[in-house]
Amino acid sequence: MADRRVAITGLGVVAPNACGAAAFWDKLIEGQSGIDRISAFDPTNFPCRIGGELRDFSARGYVPRDYRKAVKVMARDIEIAVAAADMAFRDSGIVTKGIDPAATTIDSRRLGCNIGAGLICSDLNELGAAVNTAVVGGKFDLKTWGSSGMTNLTPLWLLKYLPNMLSCHVTIIHGAEGPSNTITCGDASGHLAIGEAARLIARGGADVVIAGGAESKLNPMGMLRQQLLKRLCTTGNDSPTSACRPFDAGHAGAVVGEGGGLVILEEMSRAKARGARIYAEIAGFGAACDPCGLDVMNPTAGGLENAAAKAVAQAGIDASELGMILAHGTAVPGEDDCECAAWKAALGEKAPSIPAFALTGATGSLFAGAGAMEVVAAALALHNQVVPQTVNFASLAEGCSLNLSARPRPMNADYVISGSFGIGGQSGVLVLRKCK
């Protein structure tokens, strides 16, 4: 039995520069950055004080009325996923329980979910208010915490921060009773989740899967961890929109963003039978790791070269057929170098001539939300046959070799490739095919 084919029929995106696939695409073509000085908290003493924030964002408008109370127990990462899920299903035209319980067009048992997530940071004000009820002699006192302090936390406090709650809220809202997974592999999570979900459909375990990832590290704890890793740009505080410069000669570190993307994957014949808009087909997928990833201060591309080679081989194409490389582009100089070398190792000498594009100039680094947003952008680029511009790109950094441009370029190709990798050394790559 030949494997079943998998189409992308819906896109949901919550990005610092736009919400929703159509608006997101417009911003990519305009080259509009979503990076600004951080407003959610006072960043004064952080060396990097800018980020790709979601301003005035709440999931409340994206959940059914009878589920609005639950938004209170959603960490921001969860809210992003829930909002992106609503947009993705609406975009696909599939009617779930969450869209209209009286008119569903999908068998709940055949609807799966696979959403990548990160280490969700505690709301320090919420936890701090409780912690400060357990202070004795100016110091936190564990005995007081155990006997009374902890009761100041809402009983459901833990459930706000479990990474699987992105998937769980989405499955509950949309009535997805099929297999549900939560991948926590840093920046690679989105590609791995979408790849694994495509495999699930291919082997017949589900007909439709909502897959992707979301994360927010735009909070004091998340910023602190990135700062300790010395990955952040500290020279762009006075010029936020031009601070994040993937592969550019002026690249000087990552900028933290928040957001995510979810795609609707659907078995191809089902998608065609209902006349769905098919953005792309999943043509190839590869995953890999680099054992050197353990040394977090020494950049790697997480085995991206092996993951990309596998994805291209599975698609059964030559690298010359690729119309675009959607690069991960963290803008951390060592990481950018490793990434370029990985694409070259996987795609050969042609790699530097294939038109390339990186999102981060406009959005910052989105961690578990990055990969899926990149796949959304890749699907839109393929569908529209345009390679968007890379915000803040002027000239290649020494040691980097990708064909980036400061202007959108027309595409005339059937395939694009997109990959991501993260701290710890894991990577995932997808090849998308245009559906004729």
Partner: protein, 428 residues
């Protein structure tokens, strides 16, 4: 086209009952309890003052000189590394010269690392001004006090990085964190990777430690933990009418799984074959399981269908059996929905002895299924004395039982409704 078959060729475990698989198994067959007053921190005023801790563990005893490669490894990572070394040695995969590192994967259900709690709470106190956090002051102090590696090791994919480094794996690497179902899901998804040809062999399983003030706070606030502080040794009472919550444990369990043809070709000792994997979501509520056990039943049915067998062929079910009021009742209903109201299938929960290892629970329990098949004996549900009318299956109460065991099912259900089931059979 026939599917690639998946076999288990190595197992390793570190948990409150032992620091290797055989010690754990001996303890289970003699009904030992791994539960004691919590010593990892001062829990004396917490609602639950006891837990199932790993004690006397020394990573160096497992890893030797190689420990220098892992200077910053955290507590659950250490458990995982020791368990992985045991599994790797047993599999003898490292002796096989044709192993392509790009075909060797790592697929774990590993939890987050432990929070740097003293530093963390200290900062919240010192930067607290007039009822809210002064983030500028917090940042100033945190940049001085917080340590890079303590923070990095909290990301749940770092255990993957340690195992990939130790065994020089370059294949697919995933971590999943579907709460209490994580390592069962990891093993199931890892099997699917081998089945579809993405890898030849995968180091899989799980690791977790939530026995720290933050973890116990979270579970105590949910009222999920047993608070039977004066009877801690018998506090984990799955399926018993007097059960009052689970007992938090910690540990790791790692398995080496590989393509059957590869295992045969290299003359490996095959411990068992994974024949079925099922997954489902309750899609019900974040706080409660589907009361009829529909999600649990769907997971079990999917695993049976994947295995291509009938429920009557299952000789034993290793239950999720946490000892919470709800889980045990729902799981019982789910089993009945699949196996029939009058089923005689034996079901037991080793959590009665080892506690609930959260993300590491499923992999630990799957290893007990392998041993049940090997030794033709079922591990018991200890502390079972009071019949709950809603839980009326054969729970193998209080002592191990000789039985004919060829095919076993192992269930894991996560908070939030992610359900997973694995089925294994004796190697042929």
């Amino acid at each position: 086209m026939s599917k690639r078959r998946i076999v288990i060729t190595g197992t390793g475990a570190v948990n409150p009952l032992g620091h290797d698989v055989e010690s754990m198994w001996k303890a289970m067959l003699t009904c030992q309890s791994g539960i004691r007053p919590t010593e990892l921190f001062d829990a004396s005023t917490f609602p639950s003052t006891f837990s199932a801790q790993v004690t006397g563990f020394d990573l160096a005893a497992h890893i030797g000189q190689s420990i220098t490669k892992h200077p910053h490894i955290g507590r659950h990572g250490s458990f995982a590394l020791a368990a992985a070394i045991q599994a790797w040695k047993q599999s003898r995969l490292g002796e096989w010269s044709k192993l392509d590192p790009r075909r060797l994967g790592v697929y774990l259900g590993s939890g987050e690392g432990s929070l740097d709690f003293d530093n963390f709470t200290g900062l919240l106190v010192d930067a607290w001004k007039d009822g809210s956090l002064d983030t500028a002051e917090w940042a100033r102090l945190a940049l001085e006090r917080m340590r890079l590696q303590n923070e990095v090791q909290q990301e749940s994919n770092m255990v993957l990085a340690h195992l990939a480094a130790e065994f020089q794996a370059r294949g697919p690497a995933y971590n999943v964190l579907t709460a209490c179902a994580a390592s069962t899901q990891a093993i199931g998804e890892a099997s699917m990777q081998i089945r579809c040809g993405d890898a030849d062999a995968i180091i899989t399983g799980g690791a977790h430690s939530m026995i720290h003030p933050y973890g116990v706070t979270g579970f105590n606030r949910l009222t999920a933990l047993s608070t039977r502080n004066s009877e801690y040794q018998t506090a984990s009472r799955p399926f018993d009418q007097t059960r009052d919550g689970f007992v938090l444990g910690e540990g790791a369990a790692i398995l080496i799984i590989e393509d059957y043809e590869l295992a045969k070709a290299r003359g490996a000792n095959i411990l068992a074959e994974i024949i079925g994997y099922g997954a489902s979501a309750d899609a019900f509520r974040i706080t409660d399981q589907d009361p009829e056990g529909a999600g649990a039943a769907a997971s079990m049915r999917a695993a049976l269908a994947d295995a291509g067998i009938d429920h009557t062929q299952i000789d034993y079910i290793s239950a999720h059996g946490t000892g919470t009021k709800q889980n045990d009742q729902v799981e019982t209903r789910g089993i009945k929905a699949v196996f029939g109201n009058n089923t005689k299938v034996p079901v037991s929960s080793v959590k009665s002895m080892v506690g609930h290892l959260i993300a590491a629970a499923g992999a630990t329990e799957l290893i007990t299924c392998i041993l049940a098949i090997r030794d033709q004996v079922l591990p018991p549900t200890t502390n079972y004395h009071h019949l709950d009318p809603d839980c009326d299956l054969d729970y193998v109460p209080n002592e191990p039982r000789k039985a004919k065991v060829e095919i076993c099912m192992s269930n894991s259900f996560g908070f939030g409704g992610q359900n997973n089931t694995l089925i294994i059979k004796r190697a042929d």
